[in-house]
Structure formats: C-alpha cells, structure tokens
C-alpha cells in the first residue's frame, strides 16, 4: 500500500508543474499592466517602472518568470506580493480560515444530507421524499450567489440570527452562515446520492437475506442498507472538500471572509502572478491529497478493494 501512496504522490509532480505553468501563462496573457494597476492608474516614472519590473522579474519572458518562481518555491520562497508582504505569510494567514470554513460546510452537508437522504430513500415516494427532491432541485438550480445574498439578508440582516459579515476575526460562530451557504449545493447532491444509493441497496439480495434471518427492520436498515449506501457518498464527500475550498471564492466574497479565495480574487485583479500561482499550487496539492485520501478511504470501507 505504501508503494501505491508513493506512486500517487509522484504522479502529483507533473500535475503541479502543469497547473502552475498554465496559470502563469493565463495571468501573463491577462489584459492590463500590473505596474499601472499598482499605482492606481496614475502615471509612473520610467525609472520607478524599470525598478519594479526588475524586482518582480516582469521584464523577463514568462517562461523564465515561471522557472524563477519554481526555483524559489523549491527553496520555500514563494516571492513577495506587490504590497510587499511575503506570499507565504499571506497564505499562512488565509489558508486556515478557508480550511475551517470548508470543513464546517462539509460537516453540515454530510450530516444533514445523509440523514435526509437515508430517510427519503426509506420512504420513497412519500411526502418527505418528494419534498426533499423538490428542495434539492431548487438548491441546485439557484446560483450560489443568489442563495448567499438571500440567506445573508434574511438571517443576517433581518433576523440577526447570525452575523451578516465575518471581517477580520473568523471564529466558528461567525462562519456559520457562510458555511451553510457553501455547503448547501453539496448538501443537495449528498441527499440525492444517499437516497438513490439507499433505494438501490434496499432491493439488494443480501438485504432480503438479512430480513430472512429474522433481523428487526431497524437493524437491517442500519447495518446492511445504510452502511453499504455510504460508500459512494463518502467518496463524493472526500472529493468535495477540494471543490468546497476552491468554491469558497464566491462565498468568501459575499460574507467578506478573510480566506484564501478572497486572497486569490484580489491577486488576480492585480495581475500578481506569484500570489495567484502560489494559491493555485496549494489548491492543486489539496486536490491531489484529497483524492488520494478518498481512494484510501474507499479501500478501508470496502474490503474487496486492495491497492498494490
């Protein structure tokens, strides 16, 4: 198994290289001049411009910029943002906030989605099931920023149940509302996936056998239906953590969360290649690690799967 893990980690190297190169090219091709933007669209003296271009390697071809970035990243130096802060510090400050937000969203969607999906699957075609199907369809259909603003207005501004924006201090209490918004769409998917999976398992032969040996209905559902139904759901949840972190850009924007999404958004606007690329590299690594974790989890849940 360790051989398998090693192989997967080695495979991550070309992925990271490719992703950073692609992002470098895209930021390079982005219209607008980062130096002018830095000076707030005011005229810049030639000397200052040359100076800054040299400092941020902007005078070199983009492939050289990329190689210089890679060289720095390998020695632990991610470069400096245009506002003069080391990128590593910026990421160190914002990343934990986003992780906290994404994990909260994941817990919310997993707990609610599995419970609702399990219940809906057991009572297929009944009123609860139909309601849940409609609700999940609505949640999937409405864009996340509409949901975000709506919940912010209703629960944050009108009812004051939760703070409407987060600001500097990202405590769990303050992150509740954005976490709900972030988890909503995935909640709908988890619900539907669990429901389908439960329905499928209910008609499995081994479930009938479990009934035939005299197990009470509750035990059959718990031990044989739910557990087997969770395999695809867990796989989905694992992959979803990566998506949640990347998808946090919109939610973090709405609720003004000082997370990595916000950082990336601002850096893209300013054309700050080192910051954008560093953030993306972190994201790619998160994705790679999560998908590896999912595969290992899959093997732990299903004894039929072994990696060599």
């Amino acid at each position: 198994m360790w051989w398998y893990v090693g192989k997967r980690l080695l495979q991550a190297i070309p992925v990271v290289l490719g992703a950073t190169l692609l992002i470098y090219a895209m930021v390079f091709l982005q219209p607008g001049d980062p130096i002018t933007a830095l000076f707030g669209e005011k005229p810049v003296s030639e000397a200052a411009r040359a100076n800054l271009e040299a400092q941020y390697n902007l005078d070199k071809p983009f492939i050289v910029q990329w190689l210089l970035f890679l060289g720095g990243a390998l020695t632990g130096d991610l470069g400096v943002s245009y506002s003069g802060q080391p990128v590593a510090d910026l990421i160190g400050r914002t990343f934990p906030v986003t992780v906290k937000l994404a994990v909260m969203a994941l817990i919310i969607e997993a707990v609610l989605g599995i419970i609702a999906g399990f219940w809906a699957g057991l009572r297929r075609g009944k009123i609860f099931d139909s309601t849940m199907l409609v609700v999940s369809l609505l949640v999937i259909a409405v864009p996340i920023f509409v949901l975000g603003f709506m919940l912010q207005l209703v629960f944050g501004v009108k009812l004051h149940w939760a703070p409407a924006t987060v600001g500097g201090d990202a405590s769990i209490g303050k992150l509740i509302l954005p976490a709900v918004v972030l988890g909503l769409v995935s909640f709908a998917y988890v619900l539907r996936l669990t429901r389908t999976s439960v329905i499928e398992n209910l008609s499995a032969d081994h479930v009938r056998t479990a009934r035939a040996k005299g197990l009470p209905e509750g035990a059959v559902n718990r031990k044989h239906v739910l557990r087997n139904s969770l395999i695809p759901v867990v796989t989905f949840l694992g992959a979803d953590l990566g998506t949640l972190m990347a998808g946090a850009i919109v939610t973090e924007g709405i609720f003004n969360v000082p997370g990595i999404g916000n950082l990336a958004y601002q850096a893209v606007q300013r054309g700050e290649s080192p910051t954008v690329v560093s953030v993306v590299t972190v994201m790619v690594l998160v994705y790679v690690l999560m998908s590896l974790l999912v595969d290992l989890l899959y093997a732990a849940l299903d004894p039929r799967i072994r990696y060599a």
Partner: protein, 573 residues
Amino acid sequence: MSERIEAATEPLLEITDLQVAFRAGKRDIPAVRGANLTVYPGQTVAIVGESGSGKSTTAHAIIDLLPGTGHVTGGTIRFDGRDITHLKRRQREAIRGSQIGLVPQDPMSNLNPLVRVGSQIKEALEANDIAKGNAADKRVVELLEEAGLPDAQARARQFPHEYSGGMRQRALIAMGLAARPKLLIADEPTSALDVTVQQQILDHLDSLTDDLGVAVLLITHDLGLAAERADHLVVMYKGQVVESGPALEILQHPQHPYSQRLIASAPSLASQRLTAQTRAEVRESAVKTAGEIVAEHEGDEFGGEATRIAVEAKELTKVFKLPAGGLGRTIDFTAVDEVSFSLRRGTTTAIVGESGSGKSTVARMVLDLLEPTSGAVEFDGVDISTLRNKKEQLAFRRRVQPVFQNPYASLDPMYSIYRSIEEPLRTHDIGSSKEREATIRDLLDKVSLPSAVMRRFPNELSGGQRQRVAIARALALQPEVIILDEAVSALDVLVQAQILNLLNDLQAELGLSYLFITHDLAVVRQIADEVVVMQKGRAVEQASVVQVFDHPREEYTRKLLDAIPGGSIDLAS
C-alpha cells in the same frame, strides 16, 4: 430424503388458494393464482416450474419477503397450526429465521460484501436470541463446520469475496439453519454452482436437514434435481399449481401437458432418451453440406487449403502473470496447459469442465481474442497467429463467429435488434442497405423469430429470444465455425431445449461446425459428437460422446456424470 410421514400428522405448512399480485400503476398483475400446497414436518417438497411460473413468488410470500410491490391478495398460509398470512411486523420478524429459514438463490449476491461472513451468521444467532457475544462466535464456527466448510475458525473472519461460490452457499446454509427453523425454504440453492459442487452441497443439505428433522421446501426449475431430492413434487405453471403428487409418479406418469413438456425438455432426463440416431442424422447432413461449401471456397482470399478439419488446436498453452504483492512481482498461473483437439467440419466438439478449468480461455484463443503463450490454433490448416494483416484477419473473423453465455450482456441495450444484426454486415461491407434488410429478415426467420422483432430493443425480449438474436447475429456473415461459450447455460430448461434444437437444425441445414463450451454435461449429449473434458487447464479425457457417457475412462469424468441431477432415475416412456 426422509420417509413419508403418516397422513395423520398435522401439516407444518399449508397453503390454500394463495393469490399474489404485483401492483403496476393502479392495476394488480397476478403472479400466483390460487396455489395450494402442503408440507408435513420433516418432509421435502419441491416446487418445479420455469421462470415466471410463480414458484419463487409463492416461496417468498410465506415469509413475507415479496419484492417491490408484491402483496398477497387472497388465500391463507398456515404454519404450525397458525394463520401467518397477514402478520404484524414484530410477529413476522419473530417467525423469520427461528421458525422458517431461507437459503437464497444466488450465493454471489446474497452475502453483504462489506461484513465478515462470521458476523453475518452471528447476527442471525443474536437476532433470534440463540446466543450472544463470545458464545455466539463459538457457535458460528460450529455452524460453519456443520455446513461442511473446512477451516471454519479462520474462514469466519473472512469477507465474502474471499470465498468461492460453493463456500458462500455453505455459509448461507449455515445462516439459514442457524436458529434451527422447522422449515427451510431453499430457493434454487445451487443453480449458480458447478455440477459437482452442486451435488456436494445438495447431499450435505439433505443429510443435515434429515438429522435435524427440518422440512424443506425446494424451489427449482430442474425436474431431474427435484425428483432426486424431494418426496413430493408440485409443478407450477403461470401462477397455478398444475400438478402435484409423489415425485416418481409425476415423473413416470405426468398428467398435465405442461409437466409432460417439462419432463421431455429436462436435459438431465431428456439426454437419456434423445437417440444417438437423431444426432447422427444431423451430423450426416451437416458434414455433407460442409463438404459442398468447402468445394466452393477452394482457394479463396483466406489462402488456406480447405480441409476436412475446420479448427485444430495444437498444444495450446496460456500462462497468466498474476501480481503477487510487492514491486512488480508476479507468479505464473497456467490457465490452459497443452490442450489439443480438432473440430471436423459439420460436427460439434464440446469442451466440458467446471469453472476455472480453462475452457473459456480456450474459446478466446480459438477466436483469436487472446494470444496463446505457446502452441497454435490452425484454421483450415493455417496458423491464425500468422494472420497479421488486416484483410486476412477480417476474413478469419468472418468465418468464425462467437455466441456468448449471457444474452443480457452481449447485446448492446441501445441498439435495436435490426442494428445489432446489421452491425457485422456493415463492418464487413456486405450488400446495399436493401440487401442487408432482406438478409436480416431471412436470418430472423432462420432462428424462428418474427420479423417484427427487428424494430424492438433487447430489454423488450425474453432471455431465449435474445439468445436467438445473438445466434442470428453470429450467422449473419455465413460463418463456417461458431464458438458457443456457455450459450444455453443461462436459459430455462424449456428454452434451452428449443435453442439446442435450433442449433441442431441450423447445423444440418448450413453445415456449421460448433465448438460448444459448457459446464453442463447433460446438454452435451444433445448436441455434441466429440467431447473434451477439461480439469484445471488440462484435457483429461477426449473421446466420442457415446464413449464418454457409456464408458468414461477418467475418475473425474465419472464424477461429472454422476453429478448430473436425476441421471439415475428411471423414466417409464
């Protein structure tokens, strides 16, 4: 299996005028229409019928495990002197397992793949308050041993996928008998297993239920098997019991036309009666036609000399490299070991063996879908591994066509029947679309399907109809050799008999040569001329059908023959 019980005893199970229906939309579609049957304590009763006859539905109604929308609409089920037709949930759960056990049909799908086998049996003990905790663990091992599983202590901790099919069925038997029920419902308990395993398991089940005094309700489509194992037969047809009585009496003097047909088609029984003469006529006609075809083909694009031998396998060997854990380490597994045989034009060579014997690997090598490790397959005297240009390969494929076991999986569900049969014609660029349509009509006619079937899709056809379509598709290119890989194994006896007849007719008419691969010796007599018996990758015996059946040389062949259910039963006709 046990002595007839005096009529004075109270019946254990008494089903009176049972009606079961499945709800489709607002309508009830009846599946069982007035079934009556009685089981006395310790007796073995078999319900026999084809799929769709309502035999499994009747059995599942007894313990209220009807699938989906199924429900009892009338009649009564009395068990142990009590009406159990409509029970509350708790009473129902109390009866299941402890009073009535179930051994289900397919051992592959009936164990939870995520739970250790031991734990699954332990559940049955705990749910019925037989034993708890450590005592239950010990009892599980005893039960597995009792069911004939070697090394039960270690086996109990394994997962179902680490068991073979026969072992799983033993585990399911241990589970069904765990709480010592008074009645055991065995629903086609061995139809998914090899014949020799089947016999061991049934023998074991027999002696076990005899010792424990458990009554058995055996559900099967195989009359031979039913007659061998049960004292009393109930024949079901279209949801009704058409005949019931002592097993031998029904077998020798069937009253109802359906029972008569069933007895005529059961391969295990019929092959005793199908005269060697019928087969000889088929062969004679086929060999003659084949000879004419050969004369026509002389010196065509394939290049080889047309010979009397269509296919010859010379010391075929296939070694698979299996991963053995660790870095790229492998162990060699010899699936096929120096197997040689020949297939003469217009005849059938059968390759018989249990699963894992390598017979399907041979088929794939003959089809040039798998490269042999050593040895060669010669078609018309030409080694097929030397056909390396596309044109020659295409010509070879055109003359050798396969029909596979599972008619559900070998037809593309998104293709209409027309398109499925047309595909090989298109691939080989034969005829205009008008001509192709005429060909397809003709092919459907050959396999006795109405031409209206063309526009339909595989899911609208029955298993037998689909297999006919697969045969029509194989015939589309006018091949000379057809490789039939377990082509009738997935079908009901009646349908099986029809398909075998069809294959015989087609062989006589078109001069085809068949390589017939099967695990079921019973059907071999109806179709084959030569038999190759395979065991663990080696051809242990090859001879003519008559010789193999009447004077088997090898111990293994004798074992296979003995395992044919009902083979020893005398038929009056």
